[in-house]
């Protein structure tokens, strides 16, 4: 056993219990400090609306109920004159907002908090996080994937693309509100009201139809909506999330890493995705691997007159593994090669080849050999550009379907064994690629280098293999939720 492992094992036994005196003293002082802090926040210069909410939230009273009460009070003090306003002003104003923070209730009357990142180009939602405040559940939706975490069952559902929830979009709603009213035989009216707390003038936009009524309050100065409430009606379509957005804020700084999802330790993962993880691997990551392979060839292997063998291991965010390696085709003829080149026999249910220099996916053709057993194919690389005589082209191949990795019950880490028997003297590289949110928990051999490219970590182990055949093996434990920096 390595000394570090032995010490770690001993340290896990280092479990020191607090004395009763310390426990009581800490609890008492901590609660006193907390109460003082809450009191200070009540007296701080927060806007009256937020000060109220903070107070009632601390007292355990529903935020939505309070805000609804305030909204009703505001509506009571209406001004008769309607200020000059066009709904397009709101649509444009929303486009300029990078992040929207919303607290409200959904159609099942669950209290939710939403953070929405707006795409500045389109004004539409880019990513969002929805926290269900009364449940241990939250959802992160990005343009690439949606992660739905249920804390009760400790389950993560991973889906392709953004969530249906992400169809929620403020700009869309305001841009289409007039059309919506027409479709439903309703109308849109505007009138001015005054917020009794801030004395600021607001606009009330009301869309009334026989079966639906939506009331929005819009800040006259910024033209941004500060609340949206469906006061009458039923869910318009199944994609609707919010029944009312009782608070909408635009200047809250989002917590760091808000839209990054890290799979919690020990979570059950349900994958509802058909997307090949390789499609999401940035070309720059593959380029980096290719450059490393070529550098090893030029700087280390060539002077020694030996081979370089590079094995690739790609662990996706759902802890599925794909393995691959480097291949090269050298044109030893006197003619330019065009069309396709045979690159070997494989049994590739899910074979893929990428150009090592550009990271671009290459076309391949698979031909079943007459003599080969069923399922074994001859692979042809269809060259996208001619290969001149004497030139070499390098490719990265992935040779298998994604395989689910085994999770250890003891510490919930995922175990990966990278091994190979090359059979002659060579420089062998093991390249491990992991996405954001996954880190190395432990390794049997310390890695030689680590690079981070577009959030993906690339770990490299290099070994000079002797002439006789040996098993080159590195065992790695991967952890889904490696500790992050302090806050």
């Amino acid at each position: 056993m390595k000394p570090a492992e032995h010490i770690k094992r001993l340290l896990t036994k280092l479990d020191v219990g607090p004395s009763a005196e310390m426990h009581d003293r800490t609890l008492t002082d901590m609660m006193a400090a907390h109460v003082r802090q809450v009191e200070r926040r009540r007296g701080s210069g927060l806007p009256p609306l937020w000060a109220l909410i903070a107070r009632y939230a601390a007292a355990g009273v529903g935020i939505a109920a309070i805000v609804l009460g305030i909204a009703v009070a505001m509506l009571a003090i209406r001004e008769s004159a309607t200020p000059v306003y066009a709904v397009e002003q709101t649509v444009e104003a929303i486009k300029k907002v990078p992040v929207v923070h919303i607290v409200g209730r959904d159609w099942d009357d669950r209290q939710i908090e939403m953070w929405v990142k707006v795409n500045p180009e389109t004004g539409l939602m880019d990513s969002c996080q929805i926290n269900y405040l009364d449940e241990d559940r939250f959802l992160v939706s990005t343009p690439r994937n949606t992660y739905d975490y249920d804390g009760k069952t400790n389950t993560v559902r991973i889906k392709d693309g953004p969530s249906v929830a992400s169809i929620f979009c403020l700009g869309d709603f305001f841009g289409g509100v007039e059309d919506l009213a027409k479709q439903l035989d309703g109308k849109v009216t505007y009138c001015g009201v005054t917020d009794p707390g801030t004395k600021r003038s607001m606009l009330e936009l009301k869309m009334s139809a026989p079966n639906l009524e939506i009331v929005c309050l819009i800040d006259s100065r910024t033209k941004l909506p500060i609340s949206i409430d469906v006061t009458r009606g039923v869910r318009f379509n199944r994609y609707d999330i919010l029944r009312n957005a009782t608070l909408i804020r635009y200047d809250d700084a989002p917590p760091e890493g808000l839209f990054d999802f890290t799979i919690p330790a020990g979570a059950n993962i349900t994958i509802e995705t058909t997307q090949d993880p390789l499609q999401s691997l940035p070309a720059s990551v593959l380029r980096h691997c290719g450059e490393f392979h070529l550098r090893t060839t030029e700087e280390t292997a060539k002077p020694l007159g030996i081979w370089v063998n590079t094995r690739l291991f790609f662990v996706n965010g759902d802890f599925t593994l794909r393995t691959g390696g480097f291949m090269e085709i050298r044109n030893d003829s006197n003619e330019v090669w065009k069309g396709e080149v045979g690159v070997g026999n494989m049994d590739p249910p899910n074979m893929a080849i990428f150009d090592a220099a550009t990271g671009k996916k290459q076309q391949i053709r698979l031909v079943q050999h007459r003599q080969s057993p069923p399922g074994r194919f001859r692979v042809y690389w269809q060259l996208d550009e001619p290969l001149p005589a004497g030139q070499t082209r390098y490719g990265i191949y992935w040779q298998n379907d994604a395989v689910a990795m085994q999770q250890r019950p003891t510490d919930h880490a995922y175990s990966l064994v990278m091994d190979n028997r090359f059979g002659c003297e060579a420089i062998e590289n093991f390249v491990l690629i992991v996405p954001p949110g996954i880190s190395i928990h432990d390794a049997s051999t310390e890695y030689e280098s680590r690079e981070e490219i577009e959030g993906y970590s690339i770990y490299i182990w290099q070994r000079h293999l002797p002439q006789q055949m040996i098993v080159n093996e590195v065992q790695v434990l991967l952890s889904p939720a490696g500790p992050t920096d302090g806050q």
């Binding site: 032995h6 001993l10 607090p18 901590m30 907390h34």
Partner: protein, 179 residues
């Protein structure tokens, strides 16, 4: 994930969430502080101060980071300050350190396991910087990158100190660890 939820509630003023955070991490933080200071009552003081400061930090706290990592970093920072203060005090008192080293420490009351006692004594012989990294990495499961960020050091420095620390522990144990 529970942590994220607890932070959200705590930031909204929930005392229940604060209590749950305390109950959840009290022992772990105490073990880290104890490993760093090798003194039970000093470790208790550190954990007390960490949680009292934490109770006042609701507004500053980000709900996105790792709560365990945050509390561990706070504990390590306070323990480091405490250790410096002890060193200063020891210098002033001339020889007080030797006395305290020789006297039976509260550790003896807490650790019945001889091997653990030896480990703890061995840890206390490491330079503080190395001891801190060994404890944070092996006991608190912090990555080298996270430790480097928390200490404002380069990851290479942190890894070197860790290696030196482990080497020294091995030499203290006279190779016993490799058996």
């Amino acid at each position: 994930m529970e942590d994220r939820w607890l932070i959200l509630r705590f930031k909204r003023g929930s005392t229940d969430a604060l209590c749950r955070i305390y109950e959840k991490y009290e022992r772990a933080m105490l073990a880290v502080a104890f490993g760093l200071l090798n003194d039970h009552s000093a470790a208790e003081d550190v954990v007390h101060d960490v949680f009292v400061a934490f109770a006042q930090s609701a507004r500053r706290l980000s709900s996105a980071g790792s709560l365990r990592s945050y509390l561990t970093t706070c504990t390590a920072n306070l323990a480091r300050d405490r250790c410096r203060a002890i060193r200063r005090q020891a210098r002033c008192l001339d020889g007080a350190q030797a006395t305290s080293r020789d006297a039976p420490s509260p550790l003896g009351e807490v650790l019945r396991d001889e091997q653990l006692r030896r480990l703890s004594d061995a840890l206390s012989q490491l330079p503080y910087e190395q001891r801190e990294i060994v404890i944070l990495h092996l006991k608190a499961n912090m990555t080298f990158a996270a430790i480097a960020r928390a200490q404002g050091e380069s990851i290479n420095t942190v890894q070197s100190r860790y290696r030196y620390g482990i080497e020294k522990l091995r030499s203290i144990f006279n190779g016993e660890l490799e058996r």
